[in-house]
């Protein structure tokens, strides 16, 4: 049965709230607890959201993969996929591994991804992740506007400009110094070479590039990789049976660098133009004799067979951003099944093909995110318990103080439930006031968290969040309304729970003893 507050309960609740310092302190305590939880959840939630979005940025929504050896006729598959209304775009990719040799003599193992720049940009956020490009506004934390991209790249804006570098990055090519003809180039993760220093403002400063000579002496080159840098890329081709063949190395210019915000990707991923990587991995289109043939035998040559180019992966993006990726995966499965039927014997069977959503592809990372979320929720629960005990202790002492009032109320006809409701209403009111207060504090702090952090850094030398260390440009500064609603409701509920035991104690207090209480 719904209990409706009586007028005396609302009056007493209001008076107890406004005439005592203790409930105000309790509200403040609840407010600070609520604010702490909401700030933590907002920052952590922003952190997790950014991680998730970064994980999706280079994958798209669904990937269709046959790792290592790859599969042919991929353009046919892409055409079929793009003919579906629910599919926005699809792009061929080769996922492989290899190594790059840096000017200072280091060799770094890298994940290599062969891509077709324009179509890859339609499926993923590749275009946005390209780092060296013109920007109109400084990054939020770059108060002094020190980002080199804000200025003309060289004095007098001599080409290539930032815009040229952006175009080079999108097409994964760079003009040859002598001929001016575009040649296949690489786009590196911003942290691969470690020749970029991340500054507190969140931008990168290219460093002088050390080069170790034959005599072991190190000299520093005034080079900027996207303009005049070249690295040796080594790949390890596999034959059609998946067996390793001799490695293939190629000196390849750098077109640009990218930043997803996800440290592992930015530290170890290298993008290469698809046709160049296909060539290096022997996955490009080629011809061969249908059977063994010795040209010296004098026999007529057997017919030639064309081996179509292969890729390991086709990435797919939903036609609408908010689309259900699981439904998209099912659609991709159906399209692939039809495709496999038409190329039976040439491509892997539909049952064997790896078709997964971006969430499945990032299952490890998603699991980590979920663990972190659990941790946040645990902290949230723990803090809520603190608030509960805070209210219990305050109410316990207040009820002791108000024992005679309880006796008087019983003497003038108040029932046990009525007495309990006075304290429950009181607890709820403290919770509501505290929660609203906490919400306001949290909103104020989270909205200005970067400014507050900057102030702390400048005034106290305290940089808790250092963008040169963390992968994010700035601290997440948005409050999720749903999270806020949960936290505020939790604040009220905590106080209600906290008031419950003292309320029951008050309700069952012997009125005669209460009146005699001193």
């Amino acid at each position: 049965m719904l209990y409706t507050l009586r007028v005396y309960q609302t009056l007493l609740t209001r008076r107890y709230l406004t005439t005592k310092i203790m409930p105000l302190l309790a509200s403040l305590g609840v407010g600070l607890s609520t604010a702490m939880v909401l700030i933590t959840w907002s920052v952590m939630g922003g952190f997790l959201k950014t991680l998730s979005e970064s994980g999706r940025s280079l994958i798209g929504d669904v990937r269709i993969a046959w790792p290592n050896t790859g599969f042919p006729h991929y353009q046919d598959l892409i055409d079929r996929l793009e003919a579906e209304g629910d599919i926005g775009a699809a792009t061929p990719v080769i996922d492989s591994f290899g190594a790059i040799r840096l000017p200072d003599g280091r060799t770094e193992g890298v994940q290599i991804r062969g891509i077709d720049g324009p179509s890859f940009a339609r499926v993923t956020t590749f275009a946005e992740t390209l780092w060296w490009k013109p920007i109109a506004e400084p990054l939020p934390r770059d108060k002094e506007k020190m980002d080199p991209r804000l200025r003309a790249r060289t004095a007098g804006d001599v080409p290539p400009t930032w815009g040229d570098l952006q175009r080079n990055g999108l097409t994964l090519s760079r003009p040859d110094f002598l001929t001016g003809e575009p040649e296949a180039a690489m786009v590196l993760g911003i942290g691969v070479t470690m020749f970029n220093r991340r500054e507190r403002g969140g931008y990168y400063s290219p460093l002088m590039i050390p080069e170790q000579g034959a005599n072991g002496e190190v000299t520093y080159l005034d080079q900027f990789l996207p303009i005049n840098g070249e690295l040796v890329l080594r790949v390890f081709p596999l034959d059609s049976q998946g067996r390793p063949r001799d490695s293939v190395a190629r000196l390849m210019p750098i077109a640009n660098e990218f930043e997803t915000g996800l440290f592992d990707i930015d530290r170890s991923n290298v993008l290469v133009r698809l046709d160049a990587l296909q060539q290096m991995l022997s996955m490009g289109e080629g011809t061969r004799y249908a059977e063994a043939y010795d040209p010296l035998s004098g026999d007529p040559p057997p017919p030639l067979i064309v081996d179509p180019a292969r890729v390991t992966t086709v990435l797919v993006r939903h036609a609408e951003d908010a689309g259900d990726v699981r439904a998209l995966r099912e659609l991709c499965k159906a399209v692939y099944a039809e495709f496999a039927d038409d190329h039976k014997g040439e491509v892997p069977a539909a049952e064997l093909m790896l078709i997964e959503t971006w969430e499945q592809a990032n299952a490890t990372m998603i699991a980590a995110i979920k663990k972190e979320t659990m941790l946040v929720l645990f902290i949230f629960t723990f803090i809520s318990l603190t608030a509960v005990f805070l209210v219990v202790s305050i109410f316990w002492s207040m009820i002791s103080e108000k024992t005679r009032d309880i006796g008087v109320l019983r003497a003038i006809g108040a029932g046990r439930s009525g007495i309990a409701c006075v304290w429950l209403a009181y607890g709820s009111a403290i919770g509501a006031i505290g929660s609203v207060l906490g919400g306001v504090i949290a909103y104020s702090v989270v909205s200005n968290i970067n400014a507050i952090h900057d102030w702390m850094g400048e005034s106290l030398g305290l940089y808790v969040w250092d963008p040169s260390v963390y992968v994010f440009k700035s601290i997440p500064d948005e409050i999720d309304p749903v999270h806020a609603a949960y936290v505020l409701a939790g604040g009220v509920l905590s106080c209600l729970i906290g008031a419950l035991v003292p309320a029951v104690r008050a309700a069952w207090m012997d009125p005669v003893r209460a009146l005699r209480f001193e």
Partner: protein, 272 residues
Amino acid sequence: MTNADRSNSIGSDSTPVLRAVDIRKTYRMGKVKVPVLKGVSLDVTSGEWLTILGASGSGKSTLLHLLGGLDKPDRREGGCIEFRGTSLASMPERDRNAFRSGSVGFVFQFYHLLPELSVVENVLLASRVKAGPISSVPSAARDRARSLLDRFGLGHRLKHKPSQLSGGERQRVAIARALVNEPVVLLADEPTGNLDQKTGSEIIGVLEELRASMGQTLVMVTHDASIAARADRVVQLVDGKVAERAGQSAPNGSGPAPTEPKADPQQALGSV
């Protein structure tokens, strides 16, 4: 009820509003049982002023609490308290609350005003408790509260807090609170016990005036024989039992109560 118990019963022939029959009340102090009331019977008739006189610890406040439904007699053979023929023990909790809210009014020695509320809010608290959910206090109750406070000389202090009042004023506020719901019986527990003689006399004067003008039934507990002497009827509790019967004017609920001390209280009480 035994004959011996009957002998402890004091009352008038008219129908009582409150009747206590063989009341026993025992408190437990750790492992020790302390019997406070050992079979008290009495009747309170409409319009009378009954004073329960006794030394400290004689059980008079306990008896008052039992009469007001604030406490219950012993579960086993604890006797029975009736209000207009209905046993309080048989009343559901809600009805007992309603009884305390509407049929009796308590006045305590230490006033027991709520310090957060103003004078008028303290008085109206009883009406607010009586009022149903959501519904506001009836305007009649507001008028009555103001009228009572005017009558007690507190009409100009409605918004004052109890801490701004003297002891006598606080007790008058407490009496107004007890009367605001127009109770059948006013139960006063040592109403002058915390006041100086002059102020205490003023409070008794207030109660006497109420009796005179409203015919208010009054049960008062006191250890002050001089106050007891002003009552219609006095019962003395000694060691948990009614020791003596001492009557003054026969109460009929219609006649004015005596406004002057009737006699030497010792004389009125016989050998008490």
